[in-house]
Subunit: 185 residues, 2 copies
């Protein structure tokens, strides 16, 4: 059973660690409106907290991404929903993406997390390939570059959320519009 407090601590930790992995635990506790003592009742040490955060991220991002992939048979809709899923995951997505991109991350297909990551990005590449065949995406752009752009737009959009002049749904649509135009032929 996962209590509300535990959940709040994890969410706070993800936000804090995403910006500053070495931040003192006090900052996580503060953000979660909880004492450091309480934090330590749920997580025996820093490593455990970080590990749980990573797991939580993997789980929720993976779920959201897979749902997006399976939401339709139309690759354009799939791509759009993958973008929205990333934006909705917010800081989690940045962290998720960082984890697998970081230099010291030893990619390992045996690892279930890596397998899921691979599953997602294999599909992503397939979607791009298909859209390129259909003439809906620029064939001069490699799937790898489009992936970089994809995550960049998600990150920007999530950051833009903090100083919201507009409705958030509107920003998401703006993100999609910009994205699809960027990669159009």
């Amino acid at each position: 059973m996962i209590t509300a407090t535990k959940k709040r601590i994890i969410e706070s930790a993800i936000q804090v660690f995403n910006e500053d992995l070495s931040a003192p635990l006090q900052r996580v506790a503060d953000k979660a409106s909880v004492t450091r003592r309480t934090l330590h009742r749920y997580f025996s040490d820093r490593n455990e907290l970080v590990a749980v955060c990573e797991k939580a991220i993997e789980t929720s991002c993976r779920k959201a991404m897979i749902a997006a992939i399976q939401s339709s048979n139309d690759p354009l809709t799939q791509l759009e929903n993958m973008l929205y899923a990333g934006i909705d995951c917010g800081a989690k997505y940045s962290f998720f993406y960082k984890l697998h991109q970081s230099k010291d991350h030893k990619h390992n297909t045996e690892n279930k997390n890596c397998a899921d990551y691979d599953y997602i990005y294999q599909h992503f590449h397939q979607i791009i390939l298909q859209l390129q065949k259909n003439g809906k995406v620029n064939s001069d752009m490699s799937a790898q570059w489009i992936q970089v752009l994809h995550s960049g737009i998600i990150e920007s959009t999530v950051n833009a959320r903090h100083h919201p002049t507009k409705d958030f749904q509107e920003i998401k649509t703006l993100a999609w519009t910009s994205y699809i135009k960027a990669i159009a032929p």
Copy 2:
């Protein structure tokens, strides 16, 4: 006089702190291939190092951005060069942008750094406005959103540099192509 070692320490610190502001100084020293003792000979304490990094960032980003703005009278060329300048600044640009966007940053027009930041982004907004008038940029997109996109693309491109399948100049061109298409009408 700024020695090579001092410069190397500053560059390393910018990279390390950009990812993890609370990282131990040992990490900065390691990255600079220097002892922690030597680091402390150049910078009496952490705060001083951070301050020097910020100053270095401000100076070099400001210079590069202003040079980009003054490189031409054609707003499209100006925008293109601002993008390249950001990419060339690399981690410095992320830090520069973060510094002025962060919630706890108290913006102050009296502060010379903020004044420069304002100068740059006022010009940026003017450039966008002019391009929108000329029909070269989508008028439905606010200058603010374009700014978010601009920094997002720079950040992605800089990250993409780490796993370079292609020549870096090619990636820069790709970034510009994607960017201008994203904001085209």
